[in-house]
């Protein structure tokens, strides 16, 4: 019970840390809204040309765009969450201090990143989404259960997102420099999460591949849960499987890496 309180405090710290940057939050809301408007128009032109692309109608395509803008910084799709701190701490060696803490390294950073995600969802996500709903036709459910289903899918998406970025950060134990890996996180995140183009509209085999990868748990799956395009339980199973695989690999990699730290420290 005591450790549960510790991680809740860490998460609250992550939340508060991002809440201090008020001007940056407003600026982010503005930018996400502008990009949302540009994307909505291109998607409308696209769905005008080919109605029911990817099984969505126009209102669903619009909803997809605004959910994407809402989740962009929430899920750190381009990177820039806890993994940034982890990389910096590995690079400077401060990670050794973290290992002395009476807390689990992975859970500590997961809690901190979840706090950040929750703030970004409330601080940066809700307003662009509401703006979209106000000015463009969207396919939003009216029953509470669909929204509750979305919330669960979002929590799982946050864990999957953290799992990917934490794995990437741990690689710095071997690479020593985070520049390349952060770029890789950015490129795969932007392309495979469906922020550039909905994964269900990807052509052929490429579509099958990207929809099976963990990145699809971040935007495609929550969008489908919200709009009732998929069975929530199946969606959760998909997300949870990836969460377990990613966190499990993170754990293995972490124990291999921390053994290395001990050797390095002599």
């Amino acid at each position: 019970m005591g450790s549960w309180r510790l991680y809740a405090a860490v998460a609250a710290g992550g939340f508060r840390r991002y809440a201090t940057y008020r001007a940056a939050t407003f600026a982010g809301v503005f930018t996400n809204t502008v990009f949302g408007v540009i994307l909505v128009y291109t998607y409308l032109a696209l769905w005008d040309e080919k109605p029911h692309l990817g099984g969505y109608d126009q209102a669903q395509a619009v909803t997809y765009v605004w959910l994407g803008q809402c989740l962009y910084s929430t899920l750190a799709i381009q990177g820039g969450g806890a993994e940034k701190d982890v990389i910096e701490r590995i690079r400077t060696g401060e990670i050794a201090v973290d290992l002395y803490r009476p807390a689990d390294l992975q859970l500590w950073w997961l809690a901190s990143d979840l706090g950040r995600s929750l703030f970004q969802l409330l601080g940066r996500g809700v307003i662009p989404f509401a703006f979209g709903a106000l000015f463009f036709p969207m396919a939003l459910p009216t029953d509470v259960t669909s929204w509750a289903a979305l919330f669960v899918a979002l929590l799982l998406a946050m864990v999957v997102s953290f799992g990917i970025r934490y794995l990437a950060a741990l690689s710095v134990f071997w690479l020593m420099d985070g520049m390349g890996i952060m770029q890789a996180v950015m490129i795969t995140g932007v392309f495979c999460s469906g922020i550039v183009f909905p994964l269900n509209a990807f052509p052929g085999v490429l579509g099958d591949i990207v929809r099976a990868l963990p990145w699809s748990a971040q935007l495609q799956v929550p969008a489908d849960v919200l709009m009732g395009e998929t069975d929530p339980l199946g969606a959760y199973a998909f997300q949870a499987t990836w969460a377990v695989v990613l966190l499990g690999s993170g754990r293995l990699l972490q124990s291999a890496a921390t053994r290395r730290v001990v050797v390095q420290g002599g």
């Binding site: 940057y21 008020r22 001007a23 940056a24 407003f26 600026a27 982010g28 503005f30 930018t31 502008v34 990009f35 408007v37 540009i38 128009y41 291109t42 409308l44 032109a45 696209l46 040309e49 080919k50 692309l53 420099d177 520049m179 390349g180 770029q183 890789a184 950015m186 490129i187 932007v190 392309f191 550039v196 183009f197 509209a201 990807f202 052509p203």
Partner: protein, 273 residues
């Protein structure tokens, strides 16, 4: 005369600082090559997105793939040049917050040149390369009856477009002096602007097109002159000569951005840190 010497002084300072950053980047050659490739890939994702769209449809807003590639190539190349020259402007906010902006003010070189060349990154050639490749492909594939005026207009568009984006960067930097923590607002206009211009004007609502023609004249980077080259109807039924206005628009934008920058510097109060 004083103005000219100030300009040469600025260019000289810019050149010296930029060269220093290039030398430091070249120290780690492999790292440089890797980040350059990453930059190329990252900026190429936008075009991959367009290709994905065209894997499903034959035209977007009535425009075909080569025509959209033409818009894309112009927008990205022009933006890439502006980003290479002044792309570091978004560190201004953090420099003000940590107090290091004050150091630039007391140095005997124009502040704009110093901040513009700050962290000059050769890897940004990645975006220019990528935009230029798409532009060349587009030029080879569009169905255009080339005349001397049309051929000449292409390089004019790239240079004027770069100048217009540079003006947006400078105006954004001036805004950051007021709102120190809000570099993302600038991103909405710079990155948002170049994304907008990658799609034909027919895709967007009338009000939005009006906004980026008369308020923030991004339409002169490619939409208006490209419509002339491709023989498309002009957005908002602008007169024929508007296709040749980009250099004038660029000069006007530059002048306004310069005024905004001076006003920004004049109102600057140090954080004291």
């Amino acid at each position: 005369m004083a103005e000219t010497s100030r300009l040469t002084e600025g260019v000289r300072a810019y050149w010296l600082i930029a060269r220093m950053w290039v030398r430091s980047a070249m120290t780690y050659r492999t790292s440089f090559v890797v980040t350059m490739c990453g930059n190329l890939l990252m900026t190429g994702l936008d075009f991959v997105g367009i290709l994905l769209m065209f894997s499903q449809v034959d035209s977007l807003g009535g425009w075909g793939l080569p025509e959209i590639a033409f818009l894309y190539g112009l927008s990205v190349t022009a933006f890439g040049i502006a980003d290479l020259v002044l792309g570091s402007m978004d560190v201004l906010g953090s420099r003000i917050r940590d107090g290091s902006f004050d150091i630039l003010l007391v140095r005997p070189a124009p502040v704009l040149a110093q901040i513009g060349a700050d962290r000059f990154a050769v890897r940004r050639l990645g975006r220019i390369t990528q935009g230029a490749v798409v532009l060349v492909w587009a030029l080879a594939s569009v169905d255009v009856d080339w005349s001397a005026a049309k051929v000449l207009l292409v390089p004019v568009m790239v240079i004027s477009g770069a100048a217009i984006f540079c003006a947006v960067f400078v105006a954004g930097a001036a805004f950051q002096i007021f709102a120190q923590d809000a570099s993302e607002v600038q991103n909405a206009f710079t990155y948002g602007g170049t994304t907008l211009l990658q799609y034909p004007p027919t895709v967007f609502g009338k009000d939005l097109v009006r906004g980026v023609t008369f308020v923030l004249p991004l339409a002169f980077v490619n939409w208006v002159p490209a419509s002339y080259v491709l023989g498309r109807p002009y957005p908002l039924d602008l007169p024929q000569w508007a296709a040749f206005a980009p250099p004038l628009v660029a000069v006007a934008c530059g002048a306004l951005a310069g005024l905004a920058w001076r006003a920004g510097l004049g109102s600057y109060r140090s954080t004291g840190s």
